[in-house]
């Protein structure tokens, strides 16, 4: 369940991510009533097995069983805000009537991991997930070579362009007028590592606060460009971290795009 809204007197309109049919919309009749057999099984972030009746209008849920309720996410505000972000990202990339086995499995596995993960590793998991999700949909950033001239990148600080789709070498960074972000060599190495590592390998990665913020900024900028819209739950994610002091501080600067520096960086 990746999205849910009220419908009519007591129904719910659901948006589900399914392995075989991608995004699906369905109604759950009377699911908001206290005695409903469906209501308790149909909530955001629930991994459910459902039967659906198809008709002329919207599909209708006729039966639902919870496979995993992810209670560990629901009892912790930090984990919950991150879990909702993962689900929204999966929804933004998914389309209707298109098999979505990889992203579905990735989402469920990542929610399962997040449920038991210490807060200090949770942000690394989000970055790892973002790179996996981008890779599965063919939008992985180019981190090995200059995205413009395809020359091998020297081991030094470079810049990053979301519009061009990756790291830009010093010779190419003045070619366009697209926003550029600084990409220090440590940030490039972290992105490359997270892009190729399995999660058990990546969990041990220790990242300083400055590098963590820069990695997050680069990936948010990339996601914003690819999706052509903001991922709305980042607002809650940042609010929980900033205002309530859950885990570390949010990335510095303005939202992706607005906060990006323009032109060559030093």
């Amino acid at each position: 369940m990746v999205r849910m809204s009220d419908l009519g007197e007591a129904d719910r309109l659901l948006v589900l991510l399914t392995p075989g049919r991608g995004l699906m919309r369905a109604t759950a009749r009377s699911a908001r009533k206290p005695g409903s057999k469906l209501g308790g099984h149909l909530d955001l972030l629930c991994h459910v097995s459902i039967s659906i009746s198809t008709g002329r209008g919207l599909d209708t849920v006729s039966q639902a069983d919870t496979l995993e309720g992810f209670r560990g996410l629901r009892d912790d505000l930090g984990r919950l805000s991150r879990g909702l972000y993962l689900a929204e990202l999966a929804e933004r990339f998914a389309v209707e009537e298109a098999a979505s086995h990889g992203p579905f499995r990735l989402l469920v596995d990542t929610l399962r991991t997040l449920e038991k993960l210490p807060a200090d590793a949770a942000d690394s998991l989000l970055r790892w997930y973002e790179l996996r999700m981008l890779g599965q949909h063919g939008f992985a950033p180019q981190l090995q070579r200059c995205v413009d001239c395809e020359s091998a990148l020297e081991q030094k600080d470079h810049v990053y362009s979301a519009a061009r789709g990756g790291i830009v070498c010093p010779n190419c960074r003045t070619r366009g007028d697209d926003p550029l972000l600084p990409a220090p060599v440590t940030v490039i190495k972290i992105l490359r590592f997270l892009g190729r590592a399995t999660w058990p390998e990546a969990i041990g990665l220790k990242v300083g606060d400055d590098d963590r913020r820069m990695v997050e900024r680069v990936l948010r900028s990339h996601l914003h460009y690819v999706l052509d819209r903001d991922v709305k739950s980042t607002g809650f994610l940042d609010e929980v971290r900033k205002r309530l002091g859950v885990a570390e501080a949010a990335p510095e600067g303005d939202p992706p795009g607005d906060g990006a520096r323009t032109g060559p960086q030093g």
Partner: protein
């Protein structure tokens, strides 16, 4: 409504159908049924309906204390000096406070948030009446805040968020109990509801009575 159908309808009817379609839970067919029902309705009833809609828009305001919808501010509940002013029950919508009032088991005050934190829809705490709640708690002699948000993920997120905000104020914060509803069947209960029911289990009355003897 598609252009073909709109072109074949008299403009006032099409306008009425469009107006009904904007109401929550009303689809195109229901909007047409409501519109044609109004056309057949006696003029006096239609005027009464129109007046009722205008009266709601002209005379209803938000209570400056609890943010509930009311005709006068403070609302009758906030003005009632016989109510327990040390407890505030926080609800998502005005209708939720009415549901609790129907139980006749609560005599404290309310605070209506007018929504719930919904991260995937971009609705945060700043879009709700959270600031008003915090201001109220600084001024009033409240000793307990009861968080009565809906028992779903967004309601839980809102309650957890408020709990964290209220913690520094030193006020007791409680949540509505969760568990099986009357007439429910264990076989169909979801794991979360059953787990909450087990965690919140109570001793049977007989046992309590025998222990107290």
């Amino acid at each position: 409504m598609d252009g073909h159908r709109a072109a074949s309808l008299a403009p006032p009817v099409a306008r009425l159908i469009e107006a009904f379609r904007k109401l929550p839970g009303v689809g195109p067919k229901s909007a047409q049924r409501l519109a044609y029902h109004l056309i057949r309705m006696p003029r006096a009833e239609a005027e009464s309906l129109a007046e009722a809609i205008l009266a709601v828009k002209d005379r209803i305001v938000l209570c400056q204390v609890c943010q509930n919808i009311t005709e006068s501010t403070p609302c009758p509940i906030c003005s009632d000096q016989s109510r327990d002013r040390t407890r505030i029950c926080v609800v998502e919508e005005p209708l939720d406070s009415m549901a609790i009032e129907r139980t006749r088991s609560y005599d404290g005050l309310y605070h209506v948030l007018h929504g719930v934190i919904s991260p995937v829809n971009g609705i945060g705490a700043d879009d709700l009446k959270v600031r008003e709640l915090l201001e109220r708690l600084r001024d009033e002699s409240v000793t307990e805040v009861i968080l009565a948000t809906n028992p779903n993920l967004e309601g839980e997120a809102t309650a957890m968020y408020l709990q964290r905000l209220l913690k520094p104020l030193g006020i007791a914060v409680s949540r509505l109990a969760r568990g099986l509803s009357s007439g429910a069947d264990l076989e169909y209960a979801d794991e979360s509801t059953l787990a909450h029911a087990l965690q919140g289990r109570t001793r049977s009355a007989d046992q309590d009575a025998s222990q107290s003897l």
